[in-house]
């Protein structure tokens, strides 16, 4: 097995796949890249116990040569470290099919790595009987960006550690929650023509975010009972789905919060950041004291006699109210809403507040919900 490849192209592809490889794994074989050469296409695979990423690139092989096929496992750490220190140039890989020794030659020298046989490397799961839909890549990237931060890290409730995908005839919905906050994003211009749902773990979503193109190019999404498969032209990812029942999220979204407060989003973020400096570190509690068209944000940390207060103007059509939120969670949410202003829908101080963008993006329905903190006022 022998091929020539540009060192920078190879490094780019290895980094794309290598994000999933962890150095401390129960199966040592997972610390390797899998190289598979067929004619002049090199497929590189990286995986952990739940996710597998594959990417294909063209390499130069001897036309009609006998060495154009084969596979080998290469230790990821050494190869990445070497390529990072090599200026861009063509390099030649020569792999001995008997003892899996890998010899790399560059302009400046020769290097050797002991490769491994590929028998123990995990096989790609079977996508048989999968449901498939296509959607623009940028839509999926956005959906991941807007939801992933709200997933839970509570391993005792595994369903909530991932993002819930729900397909209907007429739309596709993404949900994330950690029981304190909930994000729901629906695209009405995507018509999956299948109905079904599944929960995708956080780690593969993070990987997708990194390599899925930020444009309208179509990607294919397929799923079985146990796995998700994502495909672009050169790269594919499959991962195990979270086996569990997603909490009944619809039931906790209030049908109507009658009071609406509209406020400049960036100003609110900045004010919250300042005021929360003076808040109790364990709760990050900031109280919204809404009177007419004025909202006073206040925080105290009684242990140290810290106190912060700021007044802001807003538009408000409801009863005067005091409601408290965790400023850290709130800022995170506000950062993931677009537009100059944000609308906050309220009912009573012990019920969820709903945050929405005031300028609606066409065919997109975004709702963020945050449970308040109990205040003794």
């Amino acid at each position: 097995m022998r091929f020539i490849v540009s060192s920078s192209t190879l490094l780019k592809n290895l980094q794309l796949v290598g994000g999933i490889i962890s150095s401390n794994t129960v199966m040592p074989i997972l610390e390797n890249f899998l190289f598979e050469l067929k004619d002049n296409t090199l497929t590189i695979t990286g995986c952990d116990l739940e996710t597998m990423i594959k990417t294909k690139l063209d390499v130069q092989t001897e036309l009609g040569g006998e060495d154009n096929n084969g596979k080998v496992c290469v230790t990821s750490k050494i190869l990445l470290e070497y390529l990072k220190n090599l200026p861009d140039q063509p390099i030649t890989f020569n792999i001995n099919p008997k003892d899996y020794t890998i010899e790399i030659s560059s302009n400046s020298g020769k290097y050797k790595i002991g490769g491994e046989k590929t028998d123990e490397y995990p096989k790609e799961p079977n996508p048989e009987n999968a449901n498939t839909l296509t959607l623009p890549s940028i839509k999926l990237v956005e959906a991941i960006n807007k939801t992933i931060f709200a997933t839970s890290s509570d391993t005792l409730r595994p369903a909530m550690t991932g993002v819930f995908f729900e397909m209907n005839e007429s739309d596709i919905t993404f949900v994330a929650t950690d029981a304190h906050r909930l994000i729901r994003l629906a695209y009405t211009d995507i018509t999956p023509s299948v109905t079904g749902n599944f929960i995708v773990p956080r780690k593969p979503l993070q990987q997708m975010k990194n390599w899925l193109p930020n444009d309208d190019s179509a990607i294919s999404l397929s799923y079985t009972d146990t796995h998700l498969f994502i495909k672009t032209n050169h790269t594919s990812l499959n991962c195990r789905l979270i086996d569990g029942k997603y909490p009944p999220y619809r039931a906790v979204i209030p049908a109507e919060n009658p009071f609406m407060l509209t406020i400049n989003r960036v100003d609110l973020i900045n004010a919250l950041r300042r005021v929360s400096v003076f808040a109790d570190k364990s709760t990050s509690q900031v109280v919204f004291d809404i009177v007419g068209n004025t909202v006073t944000l206040s925080a105290q940390y009684t242990d140290f006699s810290y106190e912060g207060n700021e007044k802001m103007t807003c538009q408000y059509n409801g009863e005067d109210m005091k409601i408290a939120f965790n400023a850290k969670l709130l800022v995170e949410m506000l950062n993931n809403i677009e537009g100059e202003e944000v609308a906050l829908e309220l009912s009573i101080p012990s019920r969820a507040g709903i945050f929405k963008p005031t300028e609606k993006v066409e065919q997109e329905d975004l709702l963020m919900l945050l449970m308040p903190l109990m205040v003794n006022i």
Binding site: D154, L156, S282, T283, Q285
Partner: protein, 360 residues
């Protein structure tokens, strides 16, 4: 706490061969005989909790396996501990302490520090107070204790160990430095076998040797404890006697008669332990976020594995769920397990979680 210029008066009280002495008091047939309180030497699970002074003559020590103890002294009597009885005695002892001071820091059932700088009775002399406490323990409980009296916790504790049993040792302020200089390094609090060996390889055998090193050198060689040793050899230990020590973790454990080999056999035991832990936590009103499982293998090597959750828990079910995850992930290399423990830490001090309202 001490203000500058005032010398503290600290007493360390340590009951003599506590469990064994209580047994010998309650069962006259054990008196004058080598008695071991702890696990049975039959099978192979037990360890020695306490040995009577008669048994100690044969070299039997706490934490030794009961089997070894039996080999050292075949005629030794082995009895299981009666914790309820010891607990009752311990409560009585603390009641005696409280006649003199409220600043009591219990270290275990049979050991405590007392700060008697300002004693309730206005006696003034710490030696007199220690004598009275020892007398009260003798007449009211028919047991003996050893006391160490000094100006700080460290010296008081070492002093109580110097004339056991039934001893009373006083190291006055003027003698503290000389006492520390003469002390062998392995007697220093926190100096285990490894540090002691390291010190000796550097030619440091006593407090006086340690005193030759600067503070910076001590820290460089021994890390953070180096600073503590630096101060302590100069007789400085400002640690207060803490009546309400914050609970940092709660745990329960069990040693098994027969080694557990498979995870399947460990699960029911862990379930029992989780239940016991949950009961204890509920009694103390504590909720924690970090669950730890402890494995002791047949070769006595230890392994602990923890899982931190995003919520504070103390109910049986949640603890067990976490324990199951830990057990599943733990790599035991087919080693036989003789002891299992389950613990919870990372406590919710301010019950902050109660404030954040939840959706589900």
């Amino acid at each position: 706490m001490t203000t500058e210029g005032t010398q503290r008066k600290i007493i360390h009280i340590d009951m003599d061969a506590f469990y064994a002495s209580v047994e010998q008091r309650d069962f006259p047939e054990y008196r004058g005989k080598p008695l071991v309180v702890g696990g049975s030497p039959e099978g192979r699970g037990g360890v020695v909790a306490t040995a009577s002074y008669e048994a100690r003559k044969f070299g039997i020590r706490s934490a030794m396996s009961s089997k070894t103890a039996q080999r050292l002294c075949p005629e030794a009597i082995f009895v299981f501990p009666r914790f309820d009885a010891y607990k009752a005695v311990s409560n009585h002892i603390r009641e005696i302490f409280r006649r003199y001071t409220d600043i009591i820091e219990p270290l275990s059932l049979d050991e405590a520090y007392l700060d008697v700088t300002m004693d309730k009775k206005g006696i003034g002399s710490a030696i007199e107070i220690a004598t009275q406490i020892k007398d009260a323990i003798r007449t009211e409980l028919q047991l003996t204790a050893s006391a160490g009296v000094s100006i700080n916790k460290f010296v008081a504790k070492i002093a109580s160990d110097m004339n056991k049993p039934d001893g009373l040792t006083f190291i006055g302020p003027s003698r503290v430095e000389a006492f520390m200089e003469a002390l062998a390094v392995e007697k220093f609090f926190g100096v285990g076998k490894v540090t002691a060996a390291k010190m000796k390889s550097m030619g440091l055998h006593t407090g006086a040797d340690l005193k030759q090193l600067t503070e910076a050198e001590m820290i460089r060689h021994f890390g953070k404890p180096g600073k503590f040793y630096y101060l302590i050899v100069r007789g400085i230990d400002n640690r207060a006697v803490q009546p309400h020590r914050e609970t940092k973790s709660v745990s329960v454990e069990d040693t098994y008669q027969d080694d557990l080999i498979t995870k399947e056999t460990m699960l029911p035991e862990l379930e029992t332990l989780s239940g016991r832990l949950s009961k204890r936590l509920e009694r103390h009103g504590l909720k924690g976020r970090t669950v730890t499982v402890k494995f002791k293998f047949h070769d006595f090597s230890l392994m602990t594995r923890s899982l931190s959750l995003s919520e504070w828990i103390n109910d049986h079910e949640s603890i067990l769920d976490a324990v199951k995850i830990i057990l599943e992930k733990a790599t035991l290399h087919d080693k036989r397990v003789r002891l299992l423990g389950v613990g919870l830490s990372n406590f919710d001090q301010q019950h902050t979680d109660e404030k954040q309202l939840k959706l589900f």
